[in-house]
Subunit: 253 residues, 2 copies
């Protein structure tokens, strides 16, 4: 049995807890958070810890807290043998270099409190301070997910930034369209099949080849008709993304 | 049997042909294109027509050609009784006002030559010059799709513009991330589950509530770390979308 302590009570900690608890070869022995009230998701109350000095010996410590709080927490955590990892996309592995065994266990996914995700599908990005520790992390990752990747700190930062583009920014485009539909008495529902197909398409095509639309066709008539319909803020976004599509596809405005 | 003539040989015409041909209550009697070579997708060669004067009497004429070509084609098309519709998101219904019975049959989806789509799932946006014609279009639409909506020309234009945001622009964000991953020796594969979840999330949440990320959290440290990693063009896109997220969610930069 691999003994695991989870540190944190946010969305990532909660989803890690749920997925790790279901795995027979893993024993989640404790979940730590300064405020015990946020640990309701931990079924057995005896596993909830709010005093950092009461954290027990474990094989793996998963730190799933806000980026800014990681280094400070690390100074307070007493660990003898286990591997200490954080789960952040943007923090360098070195944030944990005061430990003998350390690394990163970054699940690349967007987690929400009220939406379950299939952890098996989530790519786990791994990094460790030694090959031995990396092998252990790979083993643990393989128990909870079908996909793991060795990713160094610079690459992980690039991934985290890419995630902002594909997740945060796309979702914002959906939100802008939702607003715009509402202004025009249209249900956002009408757009859902298109959004679904946008993603389904890139399962077989790369995004470059999947591109369509007035920007790609350099259809100036449609582009200027669209710009006429938009307010200043949306016009800026429309223009900059249209230019970027044309630049990527080698067209001049 | 509803007799249908399809005009055009592009992606929309091809997908309409495929879906309409499968429906027992519809008889696709002809598919017209000036250049017959592009009509290979029409199984029966006798249905292929390249001379507009040879178009037969039908109940419905579906014009699925480039926006700019619709009005000119309309002047050459001889129709006695049938309803003439175009399938464009951005053209006004009036482009067909020289006919007695006219309207719009706009399938809101992105079509590619080599990717089949489930037409039943595609929302069909309908408009007609009379209630009677609208009812006929609704009936035809219900034969090929489970979803149809009555949408006037102004709303349709707004939908078409929304489609650019949710489809063209999101896909471009995926393309930018793909490029950026490649520059960092990362496979785009790692991002696919995240992209899938981005869309899966908005099946249960509205996009406003589904928003996450450094812009929403107003996490200036991460935002400036990200900006430091980006070239000028990507930096512009990152900045404008970050500002837009913060504006929509009532945060000041």
């Amino acid at each position: 049995m691999i003994k695991v302590v989870i540190i944190g009570a946010g969305n990532v900690a909660m989803h890690l807890y749920q997925s790790f608890s279901e795995e027979k070869q893993i024993d989640v022995i404790q979940v730590f958070n300064r405020n015990k009230d946020h640990l309701d998701f931990v079924k057995d109350p005896e596993l909830r810890v709010s005093n950092i000095d009461n954290i027990k010996d474990a094989d793996l410590y998963l730190i799933a807290i806000r980026d800014e709080a990681i280094e400070e927490l690390a100074t307070k955590l007493n660990v003898t043998n286990g591997i200490v990892v954080h789960t952040s996309g943007s923090q360098h592995m070195k944030a944990l270099s005061r430990f003998e065994n350390f690394g990163v266990f970054y699940p690349l996914q967007t987690f929400s409190k009220n939406k379950s995700v299939d952890f098996k599908e989530i790519p786990i990005c791994l990094e460790a301070n030694s090959q031995k520790n990396l092998d252990i992390l790979k083993h643990v990752a393989s128990l909870v997910s079908e996909k793991n990747f060795e990713v160094n700190s610079e690459q992980r930062r690039a991934l985290h930034l890419s995630a902002v583009f594909v997740n945060n920014f796309s979702n914002h485009l959906f939100a802008l369209a939702d607003d715009y539909c509402r202004e025009n008495d249209l249900p956002f529902e009408i757009l859902r099949p298109l959004i679904k197909e946008t993603v389904s398409k890139i399962e077989t095509l790369n995004p470059y080849s999947a591109q369509t639309g007035p920007a790609l066709r350099n259809d100036q008539k449609t582009i200027s008709a669209h710009l006429d319909l938009l307010d200043e803020d949306r016009k800026k976004i429309y223009t900059i993304l249209t230019e970027s599509i044309q630049k990527l596809h080698g067209k001049e405005l």
